[in-house]
Amino acid sequence: MRLRFKGLFSTAIAIAIGAIILLGALLPVGGLVAIRAVLLQWAVILAAVALVVGVFNLLRVHYGRISAREKGSFYSILLVVFMLITVTLGLFLGPTDPTVMLLFNAIQVPVEASLTAVLAVTLLYASVRLLRWRTDLVAVIFIATAVVILLGTAPLPFLGSVPVLGDLIRPFVAQVLAAGGARGILMGVALGTLTTGLRILFGADRPYGSK
């Protein structure tokens, strides 16, 4: 019974706040806009607190893996040790201190840059494999478009830019066909966003966990 009441209460709060935020965005009436601004500030603060909770959750999961001596727990030890070092340095020296920035620039940035390079290779390999599972016209058009855009964008050795491809076909594909298609997709995404929001407002979707 207590759980059910809690669920009803959280659903009522979510619906009321959702309605205020929506009306505040569409009807710029003084009081409504002010309440909306305060609620959005609260949401941002709560999201920041949730970030800290997320970090603790990450710590707990990896501590559990280390305790259970699971496969790959050595990486969990590394993660926990470096997380504690970074948090301690950040708290005592401040996030803009050169030592903290060095940790970020010497470890985080190169690792993420390397993964971007891995992504480029992965995509090249995936485009080769694509015709294995998609043998339809769409797959052929997808690969042909990617090749045309690549040839039209990147200067080729000894040739430079390809005349017709670089200044006629590539701009047409990118600015007319792709932009038109992207607008169509974005319109669909906007309609999906609208109906998802309405389901939350009706209480049909309750991601905050109440039954």
């Binding site: 949401a43 992504l119 979707d205």
Partner: protein
Amino acid sequence: MNLTGLAALGIVGISVVLLIVLSLLHRRTPFKFRDMPIYSRLRRAIGLAVEDGTRVHFALGRGSIVTPAAASTLVALSALQRVGERTAVSDNPPIATAGDGALAILAQDSLSSAYDSAGALDLFDPDSARAAGLTPFSYAAATIPILHDENISTNVVMGSFGMEAALIADSAERENIFTLAASDQIPAQAVLFATTPDALIGEELYAAGAYLQSGPMHSASLAVQDLLRWGIVGVIVGGALLKLLGVL
């Protein structure tokens, strides 16, 4: 109030009315949507995972609930709850990974609700929903080992992802894990199209609730999307014709 605000309010109002009417109609006579084999394959893969004692992994992406990416994230949470209800009593419960603190908490709540609905709340492990990494590539780097080590047979990549989703999908493909992948971002849709056979394009992501039988409201909202889309097509074509005739 400006004209744009008024028009937006009108569209929201029409959508609300349509949602209520179509929801009531769906209860009487369920709608039939076009066949989407991807969702049939997902249902089959989930059934097989429960039968053979393997896990379902749900990657929720990095969409924060205070950004415009919240809608795709909420759709993914709804799908997670549905998948959780079907797999709660499995020997190996599902795992959800998030790239945002708030999203990890919501994923825990969604899974907890799913276990509660399945009457197995005592089996729920809060660590089955976790924040994996807080930047795009750290999230992908933390998710890939889960696919290798945690006996995963079904991988759902759904939510707000950038191009890092390709690394997760490709890794799953190498492990012969069934992957359903969907993102609200166009670059991610392009790379997912190339890396996995079961990628959802455009607004197909928002149809997840209707195809996973999450309830009449989900089916009604999909029908509302279709009706509004036809309305927009009519307005665009009509506007173009009027412009051609010199009326506008």
